[in-house]
């Protein structure tokens, strides 16, 4: 959380909405551990990371959707996923990312 706090404060200071994505489960090996965070603002900025760069683009899109609907989502990324061709993790692990709007 530390690594995204500063950006979140800046965005909130400008009156923007913020979605927070957190790695909540890791199966096999993955570039970032449980607890890794990425924050996305309604203004389209991002901070932090949930992988080595492989799924951040997809998480960004989901975060924008979460900000629109206000409803959190749990998303799974990995080789077993149908999205593997687009956003598969290079190292072959599976991660679950929870994306929620910040209060």
């Amino acid at each position: 959380m530390r690594e995204v706090l500063e950006a979140i404060e800046r965005w909130k200071g400008r009156g923007e909405q913020v979605a927070l994505a957190t790695v909540v489960k890791v199966i096999g090996s993955a570039p970032r551990d449980v607890g890794a965070k990425m924050a996305v603002s309604s203004g389209g900025e991002m901070a932090g990371s949930v992988s080595g760069g492989c799924v951040e683009g997809a998480v960004f899109e989901i975060a924008q959707e979460v900000l629109r609907t206000g409803r959190p989502r749990l998303v799974r990324f990995g080789i077993s996923d149908e999205m593997a061709w687009d956003v598969g993790l290079a190292c072959g692990g599976t991660i679950e990312v929870f994306v929620e709007p910040l209060p």
Partner: protein, 254 residues
């Protein structure tokens, strides 16, 4: 105060805190939070079906500083709860404002540690030489160490001067510090151990000392030695984390 404001405050004040989130289950439960305070109090919005079990698990996770997801059965079906613990950044205390200390402070800051430098010699411990440290403490190590050290503290004693090193090593070994290392060759270290024995320090206490300090990576420059010290500290931290994890029952292990 909402859960996020509480997390922000805990990080700023370096307080431990756990936050549980329902991440899989009935749509209406998703995103519900339960905040567990270090005092053992809990508050939030998880379903009453869950709060007691989540509270108990979160306290267990908080005790060992682990985060992870657990499955809990409820009348509404299986629910997954992610428990995240926020623990204060670990503290590295460097005793001795030496060249190795400068590099060690920089490496520890990159790794997210808080770093204090203790050295009574004002010419060594200057803000110009140590721009990265969180605190410069001009005092005798044995006077201040007992007040600074917790179980999340590592101490690296680097002065190379027995009249500073010995009291620092003794104070650190008798503290809850999870790591104590001291600079010096095998010969220097053998002489140090002899002096400490003569002062009545018991063998089991001396056995806690990492000396010669650092992993054996063939380090030659002060910067390489600093790297070997930090690597040894991280290795010790990982070893203790694994040991703590093993104390949690397997079915709820993070």
């Amino acid at each position: 105060m909402n859960w996020f404001e509480r997390v922000r405050e805990a990080i700023r004040k370096e307080e431990p805190l756990a936050v549980a989130t329902v991440v899989r289950g009935p749509e209406a439960w998703l995103g519900a939070k339960w905040v567990v305070e270090p005092t053992g109090d809990g508050w939030g919005s998880v379903h009453p079906e869950l709060d007691r079990r989540v509270q108990e698990l979160a306290q267990r996770y908080l005790a060992i500083g682990h985060s992870g997801t657990v499955s809990l059965p409820t009348p509404e079906g299986e629910v997954e709860v992610y428990i995240e613990t926020y623990v204060p950044a670990p503290l590295l205390i460097i005793v001795g404002g030496t060249h190795i200390g400068i590099a060690l402070a920089a490496i520890a800051k990159v790794l997210g540690w808080r770093v204090y430098l203790v050295d009574p010699r004002r010419t060594f411990a200057t803000p110009e030489r140590f721009p990265h440290v969180d605190r410069l403490i001009h005092a005798w190590p044995d006077e201040v160490l007992p007040h600074l050290i917790t179980a999340r503290t590592a101490v690296a004693v680097l002065t190379h001067d027995p009249k500073l090193d010995d009291p620092a090593v003794i104070a650190a070994l008798q503290s809850p510090a999870f790591y104590v290392g001291a600079l010096g060759s095998r010969k220097t270290n053998a002489r140090r151990l002899e002096r400490l024995r003569r002062k009545g320090i018991p063998e089991e206490t001396l056995a806690r000392l990492h000396a010669p300090i650092g992993l054996n990576i063939g380090a030659r420059t002060p910067e390489e030695i600093a790297l070997s010290i930090m690597a040894e500290i991280v290795a010790e931290q990982s070893r203790l984390r694994q040991a703590a994890r093993a104390t949690v029952p397997e079915e709820v292990r993070p």
